[in-house]
Symmetry: D4
Subunit: 222 residues, 8 copies
Amino acid sequence: MKFSFENNDRIVFAGDSITDSNSTNPVGEGLFGNLGNGYVRLIEAMLFAYYPEINIRITNSGISGNTIRDLKGRWQRDVLDLEPQWVNILIGANDVWRQMDMPAFPHACVLPDEYEKTLEEMLISLQGKVKGVTLMLPYYMENNLSDKMRAEIEKYDDICRHLGEKYGCIIIDLQHMFDEYLNYHHSSFLAWDRIHPNMTACVLIAREYLKAVGFDFDHKPL
Amino acid sequence: MKFSFENNDRIVFAGDSITDSNSTNPVGEGLFGNLGNGYVRLIEAMLFAYYPEINIRITNSGISGNTIRDLKGRWQRDVLDLEPQWVNILIGANDVWRQMDMPAFPHACVLPDEYEKTLEEMLISLQGKVKGVTLMLPYYMENNLSDKMRAEIEKYDDICRHLGEKYGCIIIDLQHMFDEYLNYHHSSFLAWDRIHPNMTACVLIAREYLKAVGFDFDHKPL
Amino acid sequence: MKFSFENNDRIVFAGDSITDSNSTNPVGEGLFGNLGNGYVRLIEAMLFAYYPEINIRITNSGISGNTIRDLKGRWQRDVLDLEPQWVNILIGANDVWRQMDMPAFPHACVLPDEYEKTLEEMLISLQGKVKGVTLMLPYYMENNLSDKMRAEIEKYDDICRHLGEKYGCIIIDLQHMFDEYLNYHHSSFLAWDRIHPNMTACVLIAREYLKAVGFDFDHKPL
Amino acid sequence: MKFSFENNDRIVFAGDSITDSNSTNPVGEGLFGNLGNGYVRLIEAMLFAYYPEINIRITNSGISGNTIRDLKGRWQRDVLDLEPQWVNILIGANDVWRQMDMPAFPHACVLPDEYEKTLEEMLISLQGKVKGVTLMLPYYMENNLSDKMRAEIEKYDDICRHLGEKYGCIIIDLQHMFDEYLNYHHSSFLAWDRIHPNMTACVLIAREYLKAVGFDFDHKPL
Amino acid sequence: MKFSFENNDRIVFAGDSITDSNSTNPVGEGLFGNLGNGYVRLIEAMLFAYYPEINIRITNSGISGNTIRDLKGRWQRDVLDLEPQWVNILIGANDVWRQMDMPAFPHACVLPDEYEKTLEEMLISLQGKVKGVTLMLPYYMENNLSDKMRAEIEKYDDICRHLGEKYGCIIIDLQHMFDEYLNYHHSSFLAWDRIHPNMTACVLIAREYLKAVGFDFDHKPL
Amino acid sequence: MKFSFENNDRIVFAGDSITDSNSTNPVGEGLFGNLGNGYVRLIEAMLFAYYPEINIRITNSGISGNTIRDLKGRWQRDVLDLEPQWVNILIGANDVWRQMDMPAFPHACVLPDEYEKTLEEMLISLQGKVKGVTLMLPYYMENNLSDKMRAEIEKYDDICRHLGEKYGCIIIDLQHMFDEYLNYHHSSFLAWDRIHPNMTACVLIAREYLKAVGFDFDHKPL
Amino acid sequence: MKFSFENNDRIVFAGDSITDSNSTNPVGEGLFGNLGNGYVRLIEAMLFAYYPEINIRITNSGISGNTIRDLKGRWQRDVLDLEPQWVNILIGANDVWRQMDMPAFPHACVLPDEYEKTLEEMLISLQGKVKGVTLMLPYYMENNLSDKMRAEIEKYDDICRHLGEKYGCIIIDLQHMFDEYLNYHHSSFLAWDRIHPNMTACVLIAREYLKAVGFDFDHKPL
Amino acid sequence: MKFSFENNDRIVFAGDSITDSNSTNPVGEGLFGNLGNGYVRLIEAMLFAYYPEINIRITNSGISGNTIRDLKGRWQRDVLDLEPQWVNILIGANDVWRQMDMPAFPHACVLPDEYEKTLEEMLISLQGKVKGVTLMLPYYMENNLSDKMRAEIEKYDDICRHLGEKYGCIIIDLQHMFDEYLNYHHSSFLAWDRIHPNMTACVLIAREYLKAVGFDFDHKPL
């Protein structure tokens, strides 16, 4: 597979705390830890290390606690106005989580219908404006399919999969990847709350992303 | 059921971070937050509020991160030397957890055989020295029985149940209680990592304890 | 007595520092300690633990230092606009206290006439808008009736009792409850300044509240 | 009355948190706030301001939380070894307080018999070694004589009065002074917990002390 | 001399860091250390302690670093609008100091002409609005009259003395008082920079003030 | 090339601040950030992510500021006593750097002769005790061979190369790798001081290490 | 050479972090560390120490991270509006550095053409308004002329040199000075990142400046 | 005059807080601010900047608050054991100051006789062990000779002068230098407490020192 990025491409990673990882808010990039210390920073470092001959600008537009409703509210400012060539979306964990841990606050979560409608608006807004969209499926590091939250996440994954195909996104199935990995280790090996990835889980996420964009581990710069 | 405690009884709660909850280490009691802010503090407040006519001295001997091996190492100093009338034991979460999140460090966890042997030594050491022992079964807030950590905890619960009966302890089955509760809410409603109880889960633990020692919610002081 | 609350009811606790207890200001609710660490948090945890089958939303509208004049100034925003089904009011401690500790600042306290007028306006504003109002009588943990502050609080309690009956509130007589309790322990067992409740006193307050709203300690969820 | 102090006299103030007031522990004196910010610092400043022609060395040997048992334990090191010309003693608040707020910890307080025996040992140890001893009676800022703690303090005051006379101490009756003052203001005007003096109460304590040692407000240095 | 203050009088102390002493800015009063920890707090405590039968409201309107120009800029808001019965003014130290330590910044200090004009405006603004004005002369704790800063302060003192008499103020000659005191101790006994008073120097300032307003150390409340 | 590590192998990374990266000192491993945030943590995460089927225990024995003399001083305790199967050594940067930035302190650096002698002792001590030693050559991110520090590092690299071959180490030539990389970017793209690697440089170091131990980016766990 | 400055001259130092050195932003001067702790503070201290008979007002208008584009944006407010007699300019390090460490962010740096145009505008704006302009050439503490950043800085130095001559500035060739110095010590003796001067390098910069303005080390005040 | 220092000379600066200036205690040298931020650091930077061709090792052995008695107590460890070629001594400020600000603590200061005896012992201990001793006379930034502290310092200066000559020290008369300087500026231009030098005063001290050791401002390295 051919490597997706060209010199001077800009990639915006939009999402919640998984993406944010202590990055500068609302958007962070460049030096001084602005990019956070999660999977986005790792992806940047991998690109910089393996492809030194091309410049790629990475922007972290993740904000902790965001649902897709919150992300939509800042979509114009934090994604579209930045005029990126590539956009990565990973959103949905809080949409489901708040149904579990704050059941008395129905307005705090986002149900599947609204999620679908909002995601579609976001994907439509990108049509014709970017070279490509990578859509990471929300995940819960749990391979018991009957776990309430795992089951609920499944619905959001289906929506992502459906819309991602409809709008020609590159789909990155993190749930599937974690399901496979959990055959080897308990979820607490990756995240104590089954959501926020430790360094090992960041490597796993980054690997899926890099694979999806044609990153070549044997690449040699000219 | 008759209320277990008499005037001037001292109760020592021995355990790990679930018991500790930011209490003073190695042991804490009395004013100034020494007792921590978890289920122990709540139990003390319940006893003080409902039974003002008797004085009960509560000591928190929980230390974060302890396995039963660690607890045994300080058993003489932090439990026996305090000469309590009652002892509560809740230990085992770290013994299992380290098998999950630190699999490369086999010395960091405690396997069932050692757990059983150690617990038995602890229970024997209390024989004839206290009015009673309450033994809380370690738990994992997960009702999927096939979850690796949940399945492993089960073994420790069996050991506790067996030894508890053998040595005449009052058994408090927290795992069963949480299993029941999880029919109503997802585990993230009680603890983000399925171990450390939030205030709601502390109420649940305290309720089981109070029930076990004959606490009467309709009690009126003389 | 029947349990007062139904699924999805929202309860707002309005008051001063006794209610506030380090909650988020002006109003706090949900996760992350937003609800403070006082009697409100305890009541929420009791409801969540015993009645898992119904969702109840608790909001802490207490702000430290508030007199009834301050509370009235933010009544629309911090209580009415939240459209609660239930409102709890506990106000008056600072109205009296400032007469004692800042006698040179007459504008810093609220005298009985203004207190009565203001409370009545607040109660009227709730008429027809809520399922019920619980009115906690302000207290001073002192059973010497000739203590200046205790005597003064008495007047405010009378106003509360009178208006509470007039407007059909559920009256919760904390002063009486504490008077009873102080037969067993000195006030410093509950609060060093006779106002701010420690954990034991929070349990006492919560117990009165739960009793008043028909909480059943033997309740079993379906 | 003649002024008690002569050039180069050293005065040691022994006591608990009332004396300590954030002074350097175990003993503090001299510059840099070592003397704390309570009545001791105020007395020093009054002496320095009104009697600049004589040098008086003031040492704060108060430690927060001390009962007379604690004070006795460090008596040799923190009082006798300093070879003062004058000693002031104010001890007993914690001896009583712990009976009130920690009734389950009988070892945390000091009952009258032990208090009397210990105070007598302390006073005997000073015989022939100092120019004079000023003995401040412990107090509780409460003029309701039936308050449990107030009533208990009375016993300790009687012991002090009796022993103070027996050993020729200058007796400073702070309880009486505060009783008088509380005719004008509520105790919360002086201390929120009726023990720890605010600046106004420090002035009241200092005034009694200065009166007792013959301080002359009309004194003019030569 | 008759005591100046009557029940419910309000006194505003206007000035610079000597007055401010970590008080709340722009104005501070009441509890919680709002009044700072300098001579103003001490005067309040003396009045409260000796004259409990009358209420006096003390406000600290000192702000660190202020010259008379700065004070004039906030005179309406921080003094006149508070409608005090009494005003105390102590200003000028920075007006002179900046001539010494920042000679390259002529705009940072205030020369005698501007000082005189500004002080006169301030005093005129108080005419007929207050019961009395106490005017403290700025000082430098230095009795070498040829010291540049001491000599310069002298000019400001003369202006104060002249205008104070013209407008019927009670003049409090702090410079003279310190000059006398410095016969006994070196200035470093009172302040390391010869300006900011330590506790001893605060007592000296307070004593002059209290003398000037007829405070009676033998006063007994009715 | 075959992957070097087997289940339960322990790898100790010995070195200076490049290795340390805020890890726990003297040695750190396991959870809670004990492993630091540099190349060691990244290598662990890569191994955990790609080879979940085998457990590998990684220990960080780097301490900031260490020269080889310092490392030798703690070699027994921090490396040998841990009984690792594999040891990685990266030492020498401070040995040279102190010659540059502290020329007046000749004892603060380590000259080539001592470096060679010490490294040989270290390598000999590992003979027959480990499965393998990886020896990273010290580097300076500078491809101007005439730079004083770059030229000096060269000598240490030669020593490492020579001894590494003599004792059968796997040699990892970081200097050569950085030299290549600097054809694409200025050194400030990797480290502002040409020594301490940012995340991109950590990826570069980790890549060399993984390559050297037969890590397979296409590896699939069984 | 005659000394450039006269009594009451004001000198503004405009620049980036080299000038800023933790000074107050946007401009700092006078006491309390407002001037930072770099070469500007040192120059002020030298002038104050050697020329006490004249007053010179020094203002630090450096802000960390500024390129010439940033400096131009605040030129009116932070330089011209201050109406200085003398202006010193040292700008360009970030203009070049960002080309090296953030190659993916072309808008973050300033290329030679824009640099030249902007500097010329700044110099023109000063024509006829000041007594003189001192123009420090940007530097990189590196004497390897083929280093990418060193080579690039050279271009900016040429622009400065050319425009400085065109507009009659006093040119201070810091690059040349550092080149000379680096014959004796490695760059890490002066700055770990070859940009931010340590105290030794500040002395070197100050020396060049003072030489350029006719400072006489043998000067004796009248 | 010939420059005193040769390659690899070590100079120890012994003293109190004037020397210390936040340096590492008990002795500090080298990188990371270990040398403090006062005149010692400035002297090092001047030597490094002007004489790059020779290496000079500077050690700061100043500790805040030291009298000569304290310095003597650590003389062996902090000066002699370091085997310096040169020693600078500046001690005496606290010896005198404590007489002024702590007159009730005669043991806190050091009177002339003890000062003389102690200094002589220190100077004798250096005989034959060093290339030279520079003796800075203690100072008080006050040119009013009748100021108590100034007058007292004079006695210590005389002792220094006398012993300095007797033992062949290079005498650096800081008092005289400051006296001269104070003809131009008030002492608050150099130090708010007339002791602790600001940057300008550090330059003045460094200048005297450099002059005394033959530093040449026109020196050009070979």
